[in-house]
Symmetry: C2
Subunit: 329 residues, 2 copies
């Protein structure tokens, strides 16, 4: 019997087991035009935390006592739709469940790039798209720029490091602990900052980028953002992708260096990746060949089994993942 | 004997009398190509506070034991330069003194618009230029937008209110106290918020703009900026012009609503007006006719005498001025 994770309570802080319930979902016959997909990989992402709150945001909140959604990859097992047949591998947004049913526009066949399927949840999926358009479009990063990226060992951050290096930038990444810092260096970063080290980030960044930074890709907020403000050069551009530090705490952001926004003509731009979905082809045109040529390192953390999906999600907030966190079904 | 205000000590907090010295400046004969200008009006502006610190900023710090500079209007009294003759009225940046000496590129003849000379320090000078390009270029404000502007009874703010109304926007201004709020309403604002009232700004703004704001023109920082973040609609654009709240205190900025930058795709852009000096003609082409047609209200606070210039400057930080603060010599 296929199952799905329902949200059954709105969390305060880090969502505990009391918020989720794994329920059985008896299969119904397909309607005309529908397909049935058996999910093989699920994505868990920090942005999902926002959807667990009942507040107006860029994506509607998850409904209470309904199955949650999210990125997923799967195999068509039954089809009453043109263009998709059993055996086709597809990516879609009906995650957090064993089986997904819907019509073809919701299911996009995986391009044939000779890479593992779950990369379409990471470097070649929403994660990669976020890194790509955040870096090149939102922050207008270009060859020669010095780029600082926080959570550089994370899903989006590790993509930013690689894309920036492939485009001729100098890259400084921050990560927590020696192991993750080594990973970021392996990805090609020119300098790495350990935010768990016993030295203020603002000092570490000033040393790593003595001439300042042109671009900051923010996944964290908080002290990272403040350090980036302190280091930014004239006309520095910040892509504001997320502030994972505040997702669970709701603590106010305290910035010592905000005044530099004015004098250094800094630009901070928030973005959400759904605004860029229609440019997916543009993304694949550049990143697909990089992937096919083996130029990208697929950093991932795999957890097994639908039962473990909430735990995998929670781990995102304690730094439990390197690269993209995925759940294998 | 002409005199000038020297900076003789770097201030901590609000600059006291111990920071300034009024010194006599014996006139020297003009060199070839130079003019001598007797200043008639001086500008004092919040940004000058930054120049009193010895830190790298967008304008170099004032030198110790040197005359300070700033906007001024005056009359040519002696000329050894082509194109300027005694009696010509000019605007320039050698303020804080009775007499200015230099070459013509530093002295721009006042356009003949039939308005008081000191308006070229306010609505028709750097102040107006700041409001104009901050609003229309940095924040990309357009007809139909809802615009929130802080310090709306101040020099830049009162210009923003008027320019925005002349271009068909809905305007919400904040000011401190009933008298200033009445002034902002007189300028045409659709709604006015008294930031000294005993109610949180975030609530007052939510009521004044129930559908949110498209543009925020920030002169203040702090709680105003946070309220604007809370009220911003999708793709809201913030022109970051100054943060007068922090100029003297250096206190960190605390933002409860920063996370909305991401989800609502907000754009915060700092700017400094010297980047727009080369577009002065564009500004005069639109604002000059407004002034000549009597469509602009010249709100100003006049203080008399060079001796009083430091006091006039200090008053900017206690809300002592309505509109542009100018010193009449």
């Amino acid at each position: 019997m296929p199952r799905a994770w329902n949200l059954i309570a709105r969390p305060t802080g880090l969502p505990g087991p009391e918020c989720f319930s794994l329920v059985e979902t008896p299969p119904a016959p397909l309607a005309d035009g529908e397909v049935r997909v058996r999910n093989t990989w699920l994505s868990v992402d920090p942005y999902m935390r926002g959807r667990m709150n009942d507040v107006k945001s860029y994506v509607p909140p998850f409904g209470l006592n309904e199955a949650m959604t999210g990125g997923a990859v799967g195999v068509v097992v039954e089809s009453r739709a043109d263009g998709l047949k059993p055996g086709d591998r597809v990516m879609h947004m009906l995650g957090w469940r064993d089986e997904a049913v819907g019509k073809p526009p919701e299911f996009m066949p995986l391009p044939d790039l000779g890479v593992p399927d779950q990369m379409f949840l990471g470097l070649l999926g929403i994660t990669g798209l976020t890194a790509y358009f955040g870096l090149f479009d939102v922050a207008e990063a270009k060859a020669g720029d010095t780029v600082f990226v926080s959570a550089a060992a994370g899903a989006v951050g590790s993509a930013v490091v690689q894309f920036a290096k492939l485009k001729g930038m100098t890259v400084i990444g921050s990560a927590g602990g020696a192991e993750k810092c080594a990973l970021v260096r392996d990805l090609g970063a020119d300098a790495v900052i350990d935010y768990k080290a016993d030295r203020p980030l603002v000092k570490q960044l000033a040393e790593a980028a003595p001439d300042g930074i042109d671009v900051y890709f923010d996944n964290v907020g908080g002290e990272h953002l403040d350090a980036a403000l302190a280091a930014a050069r004239n006309h520095g551009r910040f892509a504001m992708c997320g502030m994972i530090e505040s997702y669970n705490t709701g603590a106010p952001l305290s910035l010592q260096y905000a005044i530099r926004i004015v004098g250094f003509r800094l630009q901070l731009r928030g973005f959400i990746i759904s605004d860029y979905m229609h440019r997916m082809n543009e993304f694949f045109a550049e990143v697909g060949p990089w992937a096919a040529a083996g130029k990208l390192k697929n950093i991932e953390t795999i957890r097994d089994g639908l039962e473990g999906a909430p735990d995998a999600f929670r781990e995102l907030f304690s730094g439990g993942n390197k690269g993209k966190m995925v759940v294998r079904l």
